[in-house]
Amino acid sequence: MSEIKSSQEALIPPVSRREFIATVGVGVASATVLTTGVMEAEPAAETLAHEPTEGSAHHVPISLWVNGTQYEIGVEPRWTLATVLRRELGMTGTKIVCDRGECGACTVIRNDQLIYSCMTLAVDCDRSRIETIEGVALKEKLHPLQQAFIDNDALQCGYCTPGMVMALKHLLDHQPRPALDDVKEACAGNLCRCGTYPNVFKAALEAAQKMR
């Protein structure tokens, strides 16, 4: 956390689009330095694959630490974290389904807490550490939970899957020996229309066992 703060102090208020692009580049570079091998920085070119939204006059600068990479970004106060992740940062793994906190498809982890990113304003996440589905795999290797999802066919259309994985990863991070009821409770806020719940339960329990 101290790393984020020290970089945050250097943040400059409202940025033009051109300056913003430059700032993101710097942010990524500094993240690489700060994390020394623990977290991998994304290449700057990828970060900038999507141009930031034009025409918004009221951008507020915030600093997000997403999956180990720092992003300094201007956001409108009304933008949700889900929208910023998907549209501004191009991390589309996080899904928006109900857009009102009913279904859990947008679930991410913020500062070790599970949140619905569609119900969370991005400005409220300033200086937060965010973990999304894109950051769950450990380097190139799938997280045991992700592998268990594949092995147990715990996904059909896959649209609820990122949210399910985040909710259950959070469970396993905090409760290495969950019972079936713990698993059900942990994903009770994640709707799956294909009805793949039984396999999700199996996957979570199998992953827990393998991670011990």
Partner: protein, 772 residues
């Protein structure tokens, strides 16, 4: 040149005769004794890693440079004339790039005599105008600045009201679709009722179900000059391409439709949507890419539904259980535009009965339009029929399962010349399911609950569906010089596992590892034609085409291997990565080595789906058994166990097939117990256009589901020996649950969903009886 023959194909109950080629290359049936290394094995999805890491790109995830965001302004009234649309304030809003409506675009015909932006709105949610803006938030702001002048008209949202002469008319010819009911009759029901020892009448009702796909309907449209590329969340890329080209009056080869990953379809994404055309129009007007994904509220409101039904059923039966007559009069809520509605098929097909009559009304109402919904018609009809069969069997004092076995049909009686079923093992499914739920000792279950506050019961129901598939469907198999393989087919994977099954079939036929096959689907420009993914037809339609294409490619490669092995190509076979001489398997060449020999002499295998067999009706069957507990104080129904026994011929992949069955049961539980669209009759406004109040099943609602798969090959259906499974598990589940509730409390609930209020009202007003 292949020979053209006529063949019969069925899609969601509609039967048609088409011209088809017979493939030159013969691929003999994979029978029960075929030694298969990959097909029929529980293989994890080949694209699972993309789906669990967030790497899979759905239409909603497409981000293009300078892309704009579209939103649609929808009618606030169930029936109104749109007199004017004033968008000047919206256009002044910074970030808004275009506003379109009926007043500044050329009309595009839609739903027969309607249009893209119709100046008469016929439901709350009809399209009135659309905007493109730099982000979703600005687009939403713009909608609020558009001023629409409506002249409201009288409306009707209840289908029974709509049938009355005094009801407001949606269309000049009245509210009954086609002006008359759709009638089917075989034998004579009056004769059948005269022959009966007992004639029983009942009325059943089902609610409006919403598909509630997690990925809303939507498209991304992008023009390069006169060439349009569209990403669409669709079950039918070629349907969309051709309809979109027609709507825009451009040739089909100027339109490319792509669907890679999609977040659910369930029948609601089988056709071109207005949102796609609107995205294309906005993209053309702004000369920028436009993404238009519907909001959750719009999606629930106006992208289709399983229509509500009213089913009056009259059955004649003899004391020994013989059915003498079945009569159905049904009313089906079609919605404001022609959508297709009816529920009579199970009545006509499921049981042996000489005298059957169905009279079905589809009715226009000022609500969202009906669309196919995972086993359209059959889900509603099977609830009515199978509830009725329970009532009848209890009235004559016969076990419900014995009664169904007594009236077992072995031919498709609904056909003009009834054909035998290609494979009907329903009797075995009955036995297996009954054993698993302990059917013959179900009194134990009934008495095991706390008798005063909680009661338990067991119920069952049967299912028939098509799912045999058929032509046309095409595939290409390309062998690269490193021995890796590309399979191309213009079908779609909705999350059902189509891509995995296609990979399995290609790898099996080529005799190589699954990892060496890459499958590309859902692209009208790169893939040959395949039909829409619906009717549980995809695997059985596309699968044999893929197999033939793989066989074609393999035979081409054998010519290079034959030179190397100094034998004739026809002496060769391939398996597990090796091409070998059949008479001397030691004499072999690695598949990859043969591919290297071929070098850049491109090997392209072409395959297409051959005709369906003459003389058989291709159907799928299942039997469900449910055990429930009813809380007598709250009226809440809990499903404790659900046994789902199915046979669709060879299961191509038992792992994904089991997922289909479990998912079908879980969706049906929502249909049986909690899901329903609610419309305020006074305003015509739908009240629960979200997920919380629509109430699909959650993780906490799911009981133990016990699928049973019979794996016996259907030797007649196609060269793979298997049929579809997507829809069958949705069909009998709700009826089995409803029958279990009646068994538990001795009172029958005749209307879905079986919510606590209905249970409590029934408990208050009825006397329990075992003859319900």
């Amino acid at each position: 040149m292949p020979k053209k023959v006529k063949t019969t194909v069925e899609f969601e109950g509609r039967v048609s005769e088409i011209l088809v080629d017979i493939p030159d290359i013969e691929t003999p049936l994979w029978g029960n004794d075929a030694e298969l290394d990959i097909v029929g094995h529980p293989i994890p999805r080949v694209d699972g890693d993309k789906r669990v890491t967030g790497a899979a790109k759905y239409t909603s995830d497409i981000l293009l440079p300078h892309m704009l965001y579209g939103r649609i302004l929808r009618s606030a009234h169930p029936h109104a004339v749109v007199k004017s649309v004033n968008s000047s304030e919206a256009e002044k809003l910074p970030g808004v790039k275009a506003v379109i409506s009926a007043f500044n675009t050329d009309p595009i015909r839609w739903h027969g005599s309607s249009s893209l932006f119709d100046k008469t709105a016929r439901l709350v949610g009809d399209e009135v105008a659309a905007v493109a803006a730099v982000d979703e938030e600005t687009a939403a702001d713009a909608l609020e600045l558009i001023k629409v002048d409506y002249e409201t008209l009288p409306f009707v949202t209840d289908m029974e009201e709509a049938m009355k002469d005094t009801a407001p008319k949606l269309w000049p010819n009245g509210n009954v679709v086609g002006g008359k009911p759709s009638i089917y009759e075989r034998g004579s029901v009056s004769k059948g009722f005269a022959e009966a020892d007992l004639v029983i009448e009942e009325t059943f009702r089902t609610q409006t179900e919403l598909h509630t796909c997690l990925e809303t309907h939507g498209s991304v449209a992008f023009w390069e000059g006169d060439k349009l590329t569209v990403w669409d969340s669709t079950q039918a890329v070629f349907n969309v391409r051709d309809a979109l080209a027609a709507a825009l009056n451009i040739p089909s080869n100027h339109v490319r439709v792509i669907k890679q990953y999609m977040g659910g379809g369930f029948g609601s994404k089988l056709e071109l949507g207005k949102y796609t055309v609107i995205a294309a129009l906005l993209a053309r007007r702004t000369n920028r890419p436009v993404r238009l994904m519907l909001t959750r509220e719009e999606d629930q409101m106006n992208t289709g539904n399983r229509p509500a039904t009213l089913q009056h059923v009259k059955v004649g039966v003899k004391k020994d259980g013989t059915l003498t007559a079945i009569e159905l009069k049904s009313v089906n809520a079609n919605g404001a535009y022609l959508g297709g509605a009816g529920c009579g098929a199970p009545y006509r097909e499921m049981y042996l009965c000489a005298n059957v009559r169905t009279e079905e009304y589809a009715v226009y109402v000022n609500t969202g339009r009906s669309r196919p919904a995972r086993a359209p018609g059959h889900v509603q009809g099977t609830f009515g029929l199978e509830s009725m069969m329970d009532v009848v069997s209890r009235k004559i004092g016969m076990d419900p399962l014995e009664f169904r076995k007594k009236n077992y049909a072995t031919v498709n009686q609904a056909q003009t010349n009834p054909k035998p079923y290609s494979a009907k093992l329903l009797d075995q499914l009955y036995e297996a399911g009954a054993k698993k739920i302990d059917w013959w000792n179900r009194d134990k279950s009934r008495n095991s609950g706390d008798f005063h506050s909680r009661k338990r019961g067991v119920g069952m129901a049967s299912q028939i569906w098509g799912g045999g598939g058929g032509p046309p469907a095409y595939a290409l198999v390309k062998i690269n010089r490193d021995g890796s393989v590309n399979v191309l087919s213009g079908t779609q994977d909705l999350g059902t596992g189509t891509k995995t099954i296609i990979s399995q079939i290609a790898a099996e036929e080529l005799g190589i590892a699954l990892a060496d096959v890459a499958v590309d689907l859902g692209d009208t420009e790169t893939c040959p034609f395949s039909g829409s993914s619906g009717g549980s037809t995809t695997a059985a339609s596309v699968g044999p085409a893929v197999r033939t294409a793989a066989a074609d490619a393999r035979l081409q490669l054998f010519e290079y291997a034959a030179l190397e092995l100094k034998v004739k190509p026809e002496e060769l076979s391939s398996r597990r990565g090796k091409i070998f001489v059949k008479s001397d398997p030691q004499k072999s060449l690695p598949f990859k080595e043969a591919a290297r020999k071929a070098g850049n002499n491109m090997i392209i295998g072409k395959g297409f789906r051959g005709p369906n067999p003459d003389g058989y009706s291709l159907n799928t069957f299942g039997a469900h058994f449910a055990e429930v507990e009813v809380d007598m104080e709250t009226g809440r129904v809990t499903v404790l166990r659900h046994v789902a026994a199915h046979h669709s011929g060879r299961p191509f992949n038992p792992l994904t097939m089991t997922s289909q069955i479990e998912g079908g049961v879980i969706q049906s539980m929502g249909y049986a117990l909690s899901e329903q669209r609610v419309i305020d009759p006074a305003s015509g406004i739908p009240l629960n256009m979200n997920m919380e109040n629509y109430k699909p099943m959650t993780a906490l609602d799911v009981p133990t589901i016990e699928p049973i798969l019979l794996t016996q090959v259907d030797e007649h259906c196609n060269t793979l020996g298997g049929k579809g499974i997507g829809e069958p598990p949705r069909i009998p589940a709700a009826a089995a649950i409803a029958n279990a509730v009646a068994d538990a409390i001795g009172i029958r609930i005749r209307e879905l969903p079986i919510t606590p209020d209905k249970v409590l009202a029934a408990l208050k007003s009825s006397v329990p009886s075992h003859k319900v």
